[in-house]
Amino acid sequence: MRKYLLKRIFYMILTLFLVATLTFFLMKLMPGTPFTNQQKMTAEQIQIVNEQYGLNKPIWQQYLLYLAGMVHGDFGTSFQFSNQPVSYLIASRIGASAQLGVQAMIFGVFFGIIIGSVAAINRNTWIDTTATVLSIIGKSVPNFVLAVLLQYYIALKLGWLPVADWNGFVYTILPTIALGVGPLAETSRFVRTGMVDVLNSDYIELARAKGLSKFGIVYHHALRNSLIPLVTLIGPYTVALMTGSMVIENIFSIPGIGEQFVKSITTNDYPTIMGVTMLFSTGLVLVILLTDIIYGIIDPRIRLTGGSGE
């Protein structure tokens, strides 16, 4: 297991290095400069600022300096917010995004599994059809449309929940739902398909032949086996949600990182772009590793330790 982990971590570092390199050079290819009002600046001023941020050095030197900084955990200073280190910027904003992402994922996956299972158990009945139609709607309606509808009807008309802002748990409910409906729809379709397959398998018939109840069969045999493929879906999805949803964060005025990221791209805020990209990539490779480990836990056939008798 340790050998396996070491190998995996080596590949993770390699992947991250490649991502950093590629992003760095692609970013430099973007048109424009980090200066908002370049026309008003004199050549001298530009040169001073360029020097201050090391932008006058050759690109390869900038690249090496950047890598060196990154290894030491220094992502540089944001251009947008003068003298704010990128790491501080991310740290102050990732909390809201991560909380929202995790909540949306838990909401989506939990109800997705329930709806998918119920649909599979009642296959080809009106329950199944309803679940299918709802999932298709959930998947097709963009989350910002849903967000606005929720704001209008639940917050404004009924006044049950606050319209926007970020001030405690009640403020997270609407954005969580808006963000979680997509994963919910996808999870329910995934679970439904997986469980229909599993329910037709021989070992479920054997479980029935044992005299187990319907619920017992689903709970003890069908669920675990139909959730295995879901693990692949959940991991990357979680990272994507946690690193911020720009639109949802904007609509609900959530001080998250998604919004920051988009702003940093439009303003050529190089250190922030790199910082957020690296954060996202690190999250993704970690989640992929975690996914593989979880696979081994829920499916003994692919246990990584190789402790089997064969």
Binding site: S201, E205, L206, A209, K210, G211, L212, H220, R224, E310
Partner: protein
Amino acid sequence: MAERILDVKNLKIDFHTYAGEVKAIRDVSFHLDKGETLAIVGESGSGKSVTTRALMGLLANNAEIKGGSIMFHDQDLLKKTEKEMQNIRGKDIAMIFQDPMTSLDPTMKIGMQIAEPLIKHKKIEKKKALAQALEIMKLVGIKDAEERINNYPHQFSGGQRQRIVIAIALVCYPEILIADEPTTALDVTIQAQILDLMKELQEKIETSIIFITHDLGVVAGMADRVAVMYAGEILEYGTVDEIFYNPQHPYTWGLLNSMPTLDSEELESIPGTPPDLLDPPKGDPFAPRNPYAMKIDAEEKPPYFQVSETHYAATWLLAPGAPAVTPPPEIQRRYKLYAEMMEQQKIGK
């Protein structure tokens, strides 16, 4: 006389399909006595598996029972609710499935899979159930059972897995064990081991077995009685000797004739295909493939004619006044052996 524990009478089952009503089981009757093994023999689609699924209450959703009764002791299984059947399945009537590679849950330790029926039916706690599971694992011949109880199905070979499936079926000491082609998916050498194991356990556990197969070779060594099924009907039934050495129905002749012997140079087969059960034939369902068929075979269904106390066959050839026919040479050879056997029995008495 042996105690009769199962009595199936006039069972009729239809399947609703897009093409129409498939009359899969058409008036099937048979019984099972305590401690005996009844083999139900027939080709694919003859209805043997459907019959056993009906016994278990495990028919597919599109199946409809059109009539008949399945008396288990003094209760009709067809009148039971699903909840009541859950208390019978796995406890009084258990089943072994065809493919051991797919009939075990890949994500559950096999100890738990064996213990599950005990926890459900005997209401004993997990620890005790696992201890009993260990005992039955030893009984079915799993080596190093103490360690293997914590293994998963993929860590076992096909033969071992079938032993585990048998252990699951027998863990509650059922009165009836239904074995649906339990050796079809196994290597020939493993087949023999599994069959021996089943015979051995039948004595230890005192269970009755319904053995479903299309392999007559397996039947000879396993069964006490044989029922020959074709197109949703039982065409002939009798003791294993009566079916093998004194067969009366031309379909049984065909089956026995297709069994390879040491002398056979090429494999015999029965020409034609079974009838479409969407529109089942009026008379003897085997008539279109039967070289000995008479006019009446196509028009009227033959009743069961008694051959001996235990032997019945549904063929007009046994009707009084039917023309005498000469069965295939292989069957004549068997008749001769049967006559000798009868002779010896008389001397024995």
